[in-house]
Amino acid sequence: MNLDRTNLDPTTEAQPFLQTVELTKRYEDGTLALDRVSFEVGPGRIYAMLGGNGAGKTTTLNLFLGFIEPTSGEALIDGIATHVDPLRAKERIAYVSENVALYPHFTALQNLDFFVRLGGRNDLDREQLSAALDRVGLERQAHGKRLKGFSKGMRQKCALAIAILKDAPAILLDEPTSGLDPKAGMEFTQLLGELRDEGKAILMSTHDIFRAKQIADRVGIMDRGRLVAERQQAELEGEDLEALYVRYMAGPSAEVACSA
């Protein structure tokens, strides 16, 4: 299947910060998880990878994070191949996982302090940490509480605060809105918009077509390890993204069923 890439404006992606070039990953058991995937995310842009389970979204993120090595091709962060120099590449990113996992016996502030210092920022005081938590909407009384009682939305906010404080030029998000209630999802989307406006290159994997359409500058639809379609925000205005997604996910018959 050829990549369905319509009306892309190359000038907007002139200097990609995150980039995959013919990225391929075949696991030892023979499974082809990624098949020659190429896309780019520039500064101040949000790229949403849409796809079902096993589409290759998390594998792509794992390759950016240097957790696995590509079989061929490369994942580049600011021009640095992640499998060649993963540490230097990771200095330029922040990551928010699907099920935000922080240390449950630490308070929100202690978690923030640890991960931010781990990211190389030792210059932040308690007030600045608190301010970041304020910004992501975590109530003041929760700042000093241990995380073990936090909801997923609250943990998500902490993770985003970490990403903000790390002040990395790029942010990777794995299913960031899954499991969030509509209000939390909306607040989260709003924050992502703010970060984009600050010039961050944001790559997110998601099942959430609604949020992807709402926030992403570009959407890539992935299916069984391949990037099968790409659309820019402007193009999505006139196109039914859901129908497009379903068509690539389950074939044309599903699209008809969906329209009916």
Partner: protein
Amino acid sequence: MLRVLIEKEWKSVLLSPKFALTFAVTTVLILLSVGIGLREYRVFESQQVAAQRLLAEEHLEQTSWNDLSSRVFRPADPLQIFVGGVHNDIGRLARISSRQAALLEQSIYSDDSILAVFRTFDLSLVVQAVLSLFAILFTYDAINGEREAGTLRLVLSSAVPRARFVFAKFVGTWLALAVPLTLPVLLGLLAVVLAEVPLDGSHWLRLGLFLLASGLYFTVFMAFGIAVSALTRRASTSFLVLLVSWVLLVLVIPRVGLLVAVHRVPVPTVAELESQKAGFETRLRSDYRRKLEGTWVARQREMASLDEAEQEAYEDANLWRWLEQDDAARQQLDTELARHSARLDEDLRHRKAEQERLAFSLSRLSPASAYRLVSMRLAGTGVDLKNRYEAAARDYQRTFASYVEESSGGGSGMMVRRRGGGHTGSFMGAQEPLDLSGMPAFQAPRADVTGIAEVPQDLGLLAVEILACFAVGYVGFLRYDVR
């Protein structure tokens, strides 16, 4: 970054609910063990003082060199408070007479058999069994637990070198566990010092090395826990592996080592040895009697052709020579018996030593054995304690016998001497008390720093095991799939 990671590790341990619980349990156990050790030490000491007083009184009433006997006591050693070893199982005194061999008798368990029900409970046992379990409890999920919780992904999404992460894991966990655990140990030491237990430089040195060995042993299990955690995907798997390993290392291997050694190098029991000696003696005496009878028959035959007067004259002329011949034969018999007995004893000692060597070499496969052995050696309460005291008691027995011989005038042991005076008679039953002011004192052998020469072997073994476990954990984590 390393500091940040180490700080996180020790904070994680200290803030975890299981730390408060285990710290409380460990503190109670350590202080309890020192308390029990201290009490036993005091009881041992006071029993010895009372027994020595009784002996002194007995000596005051002693009137016959022939009946003179003494007892030597194995004094309490301050380090038995921390490492009981075989100290409670072997005898506390040896009876000494000018003719008898000395053997240690009356163990503390023979007096207070209730103590034997729970056997020794000391600091080394707490470290060997309890702290090693705690080390596992805090490390079994060091790596795979973070993977399962998802924090490993988040940590490694930063520019954190894996080598630094695993090193920080090791150091941070060690600091969080080892440092707080020294607190109850120091409190225990303080209790011992406040109880005015006499500790000299040698004791402190050996105590320091014992604590070093304890730290190394604890670290072995901690490094082992991290290594297994870095080789498995699930915390439940690593916990099971570690628990089974703990049972093998602490409970099974040391005993299997002993069983194999007992099977490979059989050592005769005391009863078997005595039976061998008795059998040999019976044979030899029977031969001796037969020869003696033959000799007398030959002598009678020599005189057969003589008349009665000539026979009497012949007997008078030869009797002394015959008695000397018979005495020489008897002495030869005694020498042969003694030589045989010594040979069997020597063989027994060799076999025992060989069995011990094999047993300890095999059981050293387990760090628990290496730790136990080095602790007992440092405390002087190892298996050689009995041999050391019995050898000293045997030496003393010879000195004592010489003293009795000299003091009694070298006679048949029937001489008596007045207090402060010379020999006054040679008959039994004189009622004058003996002057025992010149009686040599028993010098108890000490497990001092000379015993430490063998210690580096076990300390080195523990250190190598730490390095090996750390290397396995390190390499395992470098290859670890964090997904």
